[in-house]
């Protein structure tokens, strides 16, 4: 009796997800082909630059996803982690003259500690806070971080030295700064690290279990409080490193966190909030689309693209490309 059902009942949403992914893939492919055909090496240049900023969006989006999937909270201070990372990097590297690798580690470490202590000192003491309450707290936190940054570093736009030179090299007619390679490499490294954590380690699997069914997870001993702490720690580390590696290309100032955060949020929604691979896909595609639009239309429209994408996705497929529909309790 039991053997009859051998692996036939695949969940319906899996095929639905594949359907959404293939439509999306077709659109992306078409867009890339048109761009390359119409603009040749300029088009290729756009795609490369798009992937560079897209990697940053992907890292920030993963931060949103990790916190959302384990606590159902949208952390509106996510972008400020990136801003703080960039600012600290400037202070350590340019100002104090500490070599880049050490400055990088130091900055990420400090922001991670800030993220973790925020969770422990402000969210944790609240007894069963509502999701909206915590979301409002994160908005307050982002305003606080911006104000403090403005007070410490002022309103100037600061430049950080690229990790290894500024001399661009050419591939297929497009030019690429070495910093882009650092960004690709680091993003890949972070994605692999996240994959190993959530698929190989028991704590990571426990967090996935808690995301799927918080009550059942607490019945096997997964503590929601630990899950939340780990999620905030990871999100802060991802945000900080994203802010640092992009700073040599885009500069850093006290208010970069707003745009980075919103773009990361839009990417997370596009790919499927709460699902890490979706965050990566969403980030990369948003980066590419944004850069192509900025190339074709006046570049002032660039920032509007993210929000247009956000609105379209929320209207057509609110769970995102790879996301799954929320179960109604």
């Amino acid at each position: 009796m039991l053997s009859l059902e051998k692996g036939v009942r695949l969940p319906v949403r899996l095929s639905e997800r594949r359907y959404a992914l293939s439509i999306f893939g077709a659109c992306a492919f078409l867009l890339i082909i048109i761009t390359l055909a119409a603009k040749k090496s300029t088009g290729f240049q756009w795609i490369l630059s798009g992937l560079t900023v897209g990697s940053i969006y992907a890292l920030i989006a993963m931060g949103f996803s990790v916190i959302f999937s384990s606590t159902r909270v949208i952390n509106f201070a996510q972008g400020e982690f990136s801003m703080l990372g960039g600012m600290l990097m400037y202070t350590f590297n340019n100002y104090a003259g500490i070599p880049a690798p050490y400055s990088f580690i130091l900055s990420v470490l400090i922001v991670t500690i800030i993220g973790a202590s925020f969770e422990r000192l402000i969210i944790h003491p609240l007894k069963k806070p509502g999701v909206i309450t915590v979301v409002l707290i994160t908005i307050g936190l982002s305003i606080f971080f911006r104000a403090v940054a403005k007070w410490i570093w002022g309103t100037d736009t600061l430049a950080i030295r690229p990790f290894s030179g500024e001399k661009p090299f050419r591939i297929f007619g497009a030019s690429l700064v070495p910093q882009s390679l650092w960004i690709f490499g680091f993003t890949l490294f972070a994605v692999i690290l996240m994959f190993i954590f959530f698929n190989r380690s028991l704590v990571g699997k426990g967090m996935r279990a808690a995301a799927e069914n918080p009550e059942a997870a607490s019945l096997i001993g997964v503590s929601p409080s630990t899950t939340s702490l780990v999620a905030w720690t990871i999100a802060a580390a991802l945000g900080a490193s994203a802010g640092i590696i992009i700073a040599p290309i885009k500069f850093v100032s006290f208010d970069v966190g707003v745009m980075l955060g919103l773009k990361g949020f839009a990417s997370a929604i596009l790919g499927g909030l709460g699902y890490a691979p979706g965050a990566v896909l969403g980030g990369l595609s948003l980066g590419v689309v944004e850069t192509i639009i900025a190339g074709v239309f006046p570049s002032g429209y660039k920032d509007a693209v993210a929000f247009l994408v956000l609105i379209v996705v929320l209207l057509l497929r609110p769970q995102g490309i790879l996301g799954r529909q929320e179960r109604l309790e």
Partner: protein, 235 residues
Amino acid sequence: MLRVEKVSTFYGNIQALRDVTIRARRGRITTIIGANGAGKTTLLRTISGLTPARHGLVLFEDKDITSLPPDRIVRMGISQVPQGRQIFSELTVEDNLKLGAYIRRFRKRSDIMRDKEFIYELFPILYQRRKQIAGTLSGGEQQMLAIARAMMSRPKLLLLDEPSMGLAPKVIQSIFKTLFDLHEQGLTILIVEQDAKIALEASDYGYVMRMGKIALEGSAKELLENEEVKRIYLG
């Protein structure tokens, strides 16, 4: 081993348990029967800390666990197989089992391996399906997985919420047989069941719940012969 003393539990303003007092003795199988909405599930949720009691005490091995969070209660040795199984449907069978041993993650790996082998001997079908995504299992297999997952924490007391729900009689029989085997190896079990007959036949002691209260209690044999129980719950 477990004493629930005059417990009252509320969902918002609605009272689901009224002064409930029960015992689960060491090495015994205790059953709670009752109709839908009598408060059976709430009682297990209160013991596990999912919906803590507003009044009254829950004592486990003479320690007060009334207001501990669920993960602490698991660590003390009470494991629950929740209603509707609640397995992690997107993870593999093997991962579900590993997660069952979550509270023992700092122990020796070989201990956990040994327990896993024991579980696979108990439920050979789970061994065959170990690489499969848990959501693709049949209802009976999912129930076995839920029990197996709960056992991986090495509980002293196992709570089961309607293990027979939605299963074919043959599958129910085999699940209760397994529970009985575990009991023979010394596990204390507290079952909540609508299927009163099979549950009482397997157990030592029973309670009947009605409208959030304990209406009747006695040895399983007494309850099986009680006219009222026969009429209402055994049909």
